[in-house]
Amino acid sequence: MGEAIAFYTLSFFILVFAVLVVTTKDTVHSVLFLVLDFLFVAALYALLGAPFLAAIQVLVYAGGIVVLYLFVVMLVNLKRPPEAHEDPHRRTRFGYALSVAVLVELGVVAAYSHAIPAPVLAGARSVIPVSGNTEEVGWLLYTSYLIPFEIASMLLLVAMIGAIVLAKREL
């Protein structure tokens, strides 16, 4: 019962902040709502019995990545009006299209997860004991999900090199 109340409260706030992120005019405020969003998501993880994931969520997203966002937002003047030749509504339309795509995707995932028999989900849940899951996360990462993990790290490496090349052309 208490868990349900907490879950719905958190979800409500997550949605509200998510909407605020895209509707707020001031970019810094928008980034701040994003931070709040991440923090509430972290709380959700904690609620689901995944404190490790919650801590990582706060550390990496709220504490690391968004700080860099904030840097960019503060340093770069984003109040530039759109260029004359640009269609002012082009981005909006693009945004709508993207949201529809994501919604459809979510629907598919939801439908698919309903189609999976319950015992599989139960089995997945049992991997994560309530007491602690750091070890399990590590174990899973380096066994079942080794290839995705390595691919992700390669991707990050490529992104890093790309960023350096872009930033310092005359290297």
Binding site: L39, I56, V67
Partner: protein, 339 residues
């Protein structure tokens, strides 16, 4: 009842002790620096000025709370709170002692022991940086902006080094829980400072940098940036920043004590010849060790000039982080070999 009342009581005690400790930390700093500089320090309020923190608190509360005209009001108000709250909630996982018996009840001397305690501390501390960045941004003034940029760059860079040293400690201890780390030191018979001296040194330097203390106090370098990110703050909001800094100092000292100096353990827990020291309760050891740390923080401030911003970044990225990585790799190899 035990589920709620005792933790609540503990939270209340720790919170109050922290706030009082922080205010007295300010007095301690003023006194220690005064002695270092052949002065007396505060002497007027109470005998030897021991009531000075109270007078300061009253003064700061009664001062006018100014919001600059063109500031971002909400963010300006939120920033000191964002700075203060993480500094306080970190205390939830710091083990001040092991167990004590009070009124026939066995009570653990920590609020909670979560198995990702260390990670929790690091992640919560990483949110604290928002207070500084936002203060700088919301003030709508150039000095705070420069200071907040410095501060965030500094915090992010040093966090990498500090976190890497923590990982090597975790490798040695085999746990992320603060209590388990102390227990690991108990069973090893050594404080981890002897096992991980390099990690300890990096943690200490990184701790100085992360709490914006001299010689890394660039974000609030008053000689350059007229007070840094809190230039535009006054009254209690300024006090919150001030208190957050000292609370963070205590956090860093406590974490260092727990990770490297054996927390509540007596010196050389493995040497049974020293077991007569066990008469002294564990929390005393903890407090004494933390105090030594805090004293060193102050001592450093009284002694050293300030680094320049680029030098600070250079030390962070070119010295501390490589050293931390090397330390981590060596620790990992030794750990694997010994297993």
């Amino acid at each position: 009842m035990d589920l709620f009342v005792i933790p609540l009581l503990k939270i209340l005690i720790v919170l109050n002790a922290t706030l009082v400790g922080v205010t007295y930390m300010v007095l301690l700093e003023r006194k220690v620096i005064a002695w270092a500089q052949s002065r007396l320090g505060p002497m007027r309020v109470g005998p030897y000025g021991i009531l000075q923190p109270i007078a300061d608190a009253v003064k700061l509360m009664l001062k006018e709370d100014i919001t600059p005209a063109r500031a971002d009001r909400w963010v300006f108000t939120a920033a000191p709170i964002i700075a203060m709250v993480p500094a306080l909630i970190v205390y939830a996982v710091i083990p001040f002692g092991d167990k004590a018996t009070l009124f026939g009840r066995e009570i653990t001397l920590y609020i909670t022991d979560i198995n990702v305690g260390l990670l929790y501390i690091v992640s919560v501390a990483s949110v604290g940086v928002y207070g500084i960045i936002l203060a700088g941004y919301a003030s709508n003034s150039k000095y705070p902006l420069l200071a907040s940029l410095r501060a965030s760059a500094q915090l992010i860079s040093y966090e990498v080094a500090v976190t890497l040293t923590l990982v090597s400690v975790i490798l040695v201890a085999g746990s992320l829980s603060m209590v388990q780390i102390v227990r690991a030191q108990e069973s090893a018979g050594w404080w981890f400072v002897f096992v991980q001296p390099l990690a300890f040194a990096i943690f200490f330097i990184g701790g100085l940098a992360e709490t914006n203390r001299a010689p890394f106090d660039m974000p609030e370098a008053e000689q350059e940036l007229t007070g840094g990110f809190h230039t535009e703050y006054s009254g209690m909001r300024f006090a919150l920043f001030f208190l957050a800094e000292y609370a963070n100092m205590i956090v860093v000292s406590s974490v260092a004590t727990t990770l490297f100096l054996g927390g509540w353990l007596r010196p050389f827990p493995g040497v049974s010849a020293l077991s007569f020291l066990d008469i002294i309760p564990g929390w005393t050891w903890f407090l004494v060790k933390s105090f030594v740390f805090l004293y060193i923080f102050i001592w450093v401030r009284a002694t050293l000039p300030r680094y320049r911003y680029d030098q600070l970044m250079r030390i962070g990225w070119k010295v501390l982080i490589p050293l931390a990585i090397v330390n981590l790799v060596v620790t990992g190899i030794i750990k694997v070999m010994l297993l």
